[in-house]
């Protein structure tokens, strides 16, 4: 089973990794971790006025940071999954939902896993726009991991370090 895990650079990514580790810890899987760097249009306009060099540098830095971040997550995930299962890492540029969908198709994903914070208490919706776009347009199965996700059968002592890790 091929799983594409879309990683955002917020606190939810640990919840997503823990979810994948928990659900697929006994199943043969090829996991690909993907982070999408979205070039900021404001930066683009500003830097195109004063030359391309700086813009390029900023993006390069963001890509490097994302790669380093994904590699830490990869190590974490590999330690929790079957040792023989590969975990790939990929950082791409573009509009997040487009890139995620294209990447899933190219990778031949059976499942896309994506986290969602939702919009808080004011809205009924517990899903964000990128997740919703992926959900609506994907050709494969999609799992939305919610920020509220807590594994029910874990006891309280197991939950504590998890939330502590999320805060760190």
């Amino acid at each position: 089973m091929k799983i594409l895990v879309a990683i955002d650079d917020d606190s939810l990514c640990q919840t997503v990794i823990d979810f994948v580790a928990k659900v697929f810890s006994h199943h043969a899987t090829i996991v690909k971790l993907l982070h999408v760097v979205q070039p900021s249009s404001v930066v683009d306009t500003a830097t195109s006025l004063c030359g391309h060099g700086e813009n390029h540098q900023i993006l390069e830095e963001r890509i490097q940071q994302a790669s380093a971040f994904l590699n830490t997550l990869r190590k974490d995930l590999r330690s929790k999954m079957l040792p023989s299962e590969p975990v790939e890492v990929s950082v791409l540029m573009g509009t997040p939902h487009r890139v995620i969908l294209d990447c899933a198709e190219e990778f031949g994903a059976d499942l896309i896993v994506i986290g969602s914070h939702g919009h808080g208490e004011l809205s009924r919706l517990k899903i964000n726009s990128v997740s919703y776009a992926v959900l609506s347009h994907a050709d494969c199965a999609v799992t939305i991991v919610k920020a509220q996700q807590v594994f029910q059968n874990e006891d309280a002592s197991e939950k504590l370090p998890k939330s502590a890790r999320l805060l760190a």
Binding site: H27, A141, Q149
Partner: protein, 150 residues
């Protein structure tokens, strides 16, 4: 890991069940199958004669019985495949989205698995409404399984 599978008569909900059956789940997993029966509304005495109300109620009963039969068949499949795991199921009555979300909450589901149609072109923009409402309103994680492309 507590997995709630929402089921109806569609092809895609079969695909969802197959997808659950095909995987190796962590130890101590539990499965719950839910099939929601939505009663036929609008027994309006102006539109319906007493006779047609009776036949509507009978149709309702038939649909309920069919759902129970389908649930039992799927439960047998689950029990045969996952004999180490706890498996339960129920036919609920009400609005599908509300029943699924409320049941997931009261049972303490970690994951809801729900099927959706896989349409092409313009129609694809509209995700099955129950699937999309469950995905956007449930507190736990939701897996949307698509009908396989042919």
């Amino acid at each position: 890991m507590k997995v709630l599978i929402a089921q109806d008569e569609s092809e895609c909900s079969k695909t969802a069940l197959e997808s659950v059956l095909s995987r190796t789940w962590p130890e101590n997993s539990q499965f719950r199958l839910v099939n929601v029966h939505e009663p036929i509304h609008g027994y309006d005495p102006v539109i319906y004669t007493p006779h047609s109300i009776v036949s509507l109620k009978e149709a309702d009963k038939e649909i309920y019985a069919a759902k129970e039969a389908q649930l039992k068949k799927s439960l047998d499949l689950l029990k045969a495949k996952f004999n180490d795991f706890e498996v339960c199921g129920e036919v609920l009555t009400g609005h599908p989205k509300d029943c699924i979300i409320d049941d997931a909450e009261s049972w303490g589901a970690d994951l809801i698995v729900v099927g959706t149609h896989s349409r092409k072109g313009f129609a694809r923009a509209f995700l099955g409404s129950v699937a999309s409402e469950v995905a956007s309103q449930a507190d736990c994680s939701v897996e949307i399984v698509r009908e396989r492309k042919h």
